[in-house]
Amino acid sequence: MRAKIALLVTGTGLLAAIPMFAHHSFAAEYDRNRPIKLTGKVTKVEWMNPHARFYVDVKDDAGKVTNWEFELGSPNGLMRQGWTRNSLKEGDVVTVEGSLAKDGSNLANSRTVKLADGRKVFAGSAEETGRTESKVESK
């Protein structure tokens, strides 16, 4: 499996809504300006507090395999979104988008996790709806 690492520059600001649960600062650990997209096979899932985590073997173009660690939200927060400890299992092939750790370790914060068939597990919103409507009024 080919590893695809995409580093893009985005300009998202850092401020925050009031968190119901704040464990650690995002910005002290991850770099918003270094998005990453990796595909590989899940080797382990840790469904534990304060964060659920999973590990993925990612093969690069030269065939070298590296085990990456991905951080999720807390199991409690994920369960409140409808996910369970079985939503992601060892052996699943996933594509993960997230932000790289600042300290250079093979660690990233997950933003979305997609299975090989395109289904999302651990997406930010369990149900992504576009309820936007616009109406044109004229007199």
Binding site: F26, A28, E29, P50, F122, S125, E128, R131, S138, K139
Partner: protein
């Protein structure tokens, strides 16, 4: 995001020169989004118009637009940028564009992604205020955060040493927030949330992270003369009509006022007064006053609302079970 367009006739006369784009901005939870930055650009000329922000109700209106096609851009912290192109505007017409902003969520972004944890909660149940046998309101229930009040945007007025600490904490990406070490959020961060269990003489507030318990004594006792400084302090409550006034002293100086928005330090002189009202079955209102002559020029007053969520329950959260972030938190 899918947009549907419908043409409606409006009888309202429009006195303003030029055309208008108006609408309401909401999030995917249905809450109105205030303070979003809105800008329209004339597609042909590139001219920018009416850079403003959405109202507390989420409504916005950009008027005085010359005839033409416009691009509408909306930006809001922690939400994905929104762009809508080819909005046709004509003099005397009002074009309505209601917008749902998507969260810009990172799943481990605790703090940055707080909205994620609010999930799509059901509307709070309706009904009268539950009452104890003695007629006092019963505040018991699992209280989930309601929409943020603007008072939370007003930071405290800190003494110079306090402002210097805040500046350093922000410059250091809030690396040293107590919760990163699985230490308590503190009373000021968590007030108005959690599971309330009320008896006639004791209110217990259970906090999910990192599993703290607050005891608020309702039996008429006063604060002890000698108090060991603690994270959560010593709390006593008394009723003023239907308002429960919780008075807390005896804090240590280790907690932060809030983790993200107002990462202020305080001293052991901090005095917190929480005034709770349950106006009906589904809502809990809090006005919190934080006094600390050692840290702030004047009391900091914030309002919070919480919604009863009978479909949810407090969950176990043992922070030290698998804490692996600390070693990756960089000091600048």
């Amino acid at each position: 995001m899918r947009l549907t367009l419908a043409c409606l006739l409006s009888l309202a006369a429009f006195a303003q020169d030029g055309g208008t784009i108006t609408g309401r901005i909401s999030d995917t939870f249905g809450y109105r989004v205030s303070g979003a930055t809105i800008q329209v650009k004339n597609t042909a000329t590139g001219a920018l118009y009416n850079k403003g922000t959405s109202e507390a109700t989420g409504e916005y209106m950009l008027g005085g637009l010359p005839d033409g096609a416009y691009e509408l851009s909306v930006r809001m912290t922690n939400m994905k940028p929104y762009v809508r192109r080819e909005i046709a505007v004509r003099t005397g017409q009002s074009v309505r564009v209601d917008i749902t902003l998507q969260d810009d969520v990172r799943l481990g972004t605790l703090g940055d992604g707080g909205r994620f944890f609010q999930r799509r909660r059901p509307a709070p149940p309706t009904g009268p205020t539950p009452r104890m046998p003695d007629g006092k309101p019963d505040l018991s229930g699992f209280w989930a955060p309601g929409p943020a009040d603007q008072s939370e945007d007003e930071p405290p007025q800190g003494l110079p040493w306090v402002e210097a600490v805040v500046k350093a904490r922000v410059a250091n990406d809030l690396r040293d927030m107590p919760t990163a070490r699985c230490l308590p959020n503190g009373v000021t961060q968590q007030a108005g949330r959690g599971k309330f269990v009320q008896t006639p003489t004791l209110l217990v507030i259970l906090l999910e992270f990192p599993g703290d318990t607050r005891q608020v004594f309702l039996d008429g006792r006063v604060h002890p003369q000698e108090l060991d400084p603690t994270w959560l302090g010593h709390s006593i409550g008394r009723w003023e009509g239907d308002t429960l006034v919780v008075d807390t002293v005896g804090f240590n100086d280790k907690s932060w006022l809030t983790m993200i928005r107002n990462p202020y330090p305080h001293t052991e002189m901090m005095h917190v007064i929480e005034r709770y009202r349950r106006p009906d079955l589904g809502h809990l209102d809090l006005e919190m006053t934080v006094e600390d002559p050692g840290a702030f020029r004047k009391p900091w007053v914030v309002k919070r609302t919480a919604n009863l969520d009978p479909t949810d329950e407090l969950m176990e959260n043992i922070c030290s079970e698998n804490e692996k972030d600390l070693k990756h938190l960089l000091d600048k």
